[in-house]
Amino acid sequence: MPKTLVQEFTKGLWQELPPFRLVLGLCPTLGVTTSMENGLGMGIATTFVLFGSNILISMLRSVIPSKVRIACFIIIIASFVTIVELLMQAYTYPLYLKLGVFIPLIVVNCILLGRAEAFACKNNVSSSMADGLGIGIGYTLALGSLGAIRELLGHGSVTVWGHLSYNLMSAFPSYHPFTFMVQAPGAFICLGLMLCLINAIGD
């Protein structure tokens, strides 16, 4: 049953929410979500790459020979990642410094290759576009929320691009920041608990 464009878009927001439902792309999910800002930045960068690569791969799907399709996907994805990296260096340098090695690592993010292989090379341009955008936004939201939870518990406050901050200490003055949450093992535990919660909610 063919899905509508809206369905292709919205499936990435819940049914196929990348880190929680597909359990893909966990390396950056664990690595960069020390703050909400980092999570969102990484998510947006991935969304851009996913959106671009999905469109291009979908456009070229009749041209690409199936034997070398992975190589072609990698070339396309890597190009977009490099573009994002350069753009981030040029316009959001502090974020680029924080995300560091995880930006070039978008190339090996399973979500990108996964979507290319499972979706873009089999569907037309418009639905690939909707798919890439939906999955990307879902990924951004997931990373953002994970980052927000970890930052809130670990620092006691959430800061996004210098403002729009919420301070837990203002509501609970005696709150002591739970620094474990912004450390690496905290990422695993937080992600695990969120997975647990999302599975409990179900479809």
């Binding site: 690409i64 020979p65 072609c72 070339i75 190009s79 573009i83 260096q89 410094l97």
Partner: protein
């Protein structure tokens, strides 16, 4: 056979196209990236050294060839006179190169300040060179003619406790900067006039 040819052609074209696009993007963003790097990596150091400058030192910079390397010179303007410059030198630290931004007043030939830009020293030990201003502030006001060194080597700089290697590296970087400054001085005076206008 046909498929083989197709594979080769597609891959080649795709790679070439990707290369072309990337080259274009790279070219388009190069100056902006350089700008950003200077602002965010060296910016804080320059700002502490040239605090109170009436012009933006990063925008008002020029390049000078010193030996093989090209140096970026940042210019600060105080009391209407563009007489202070800052540039970066490197010293060998415990965990690799330490970048030190050195500011010199060209009228008095004295250091106006130093600040560490990049380093990979041990947190809590050598990293204090950057975090703790009391160490770098010792350089302020020293004349460029005299070489600097830590007290252990008979100099005038008190080393950071527990981080002699880092302290020596910073001193070496400042020393290098002083020598380079003396060598470059005529050229600098030429260039700085343009900025002063």
């Amino acid at each position: 056979m046909n498929e083989m040819v197709k594979m080769v052609v597609v891959l080649t074209v795709l790679s070439a196209a990707a290369g072309g696009v990337l080259a274009a993007v790279n070219k388009g963003t190069a100056s902006q990236i350089k700008d950003q790097q200077l602002r965010f990596v060296k910016g804080p150091a320059i700002e502490t050294i040239l605090a109170g400058s009436s012009i933006n030192p990063i925008e008002n910079r020029f390049e000078i060839k010193e030996g093989d390397a090209e140096k970026s010179i940042f210019v600060g303007k105080f009391d209407g006179k563009a007489n202070t410059i800052a540039f970066e030198e490197f010293g060998k630290g415990f965990g690799g190169d330490i970048g030190v931004m050195v500011g010199v007043n060209m009228d008095t030939d004295k250091l106006v300040g130093t600040a560490v830009t990049v380093h990979s020293e041990t947190p809590g030990m050598g990293a204090r060179a950057k975090d703790d201003p009391s160490f770098v502030s010792q350089f302020k006001g020293l004349p460029v003619a005299n070489p600097v060194s830590v007290t252990k080597d008979g100099g005038q700089i008190t080393a950071i406790s527990g981080a002699t290697i880092t302290s020596r590296a910073v001193c070496a970087a400042v020393d290098k900067a002083m020598q380079a400054y003396q060598k470059m001085k005529p050229e600098l005076q030429q260039e700085i006039k343009k900025v002063g206008k």
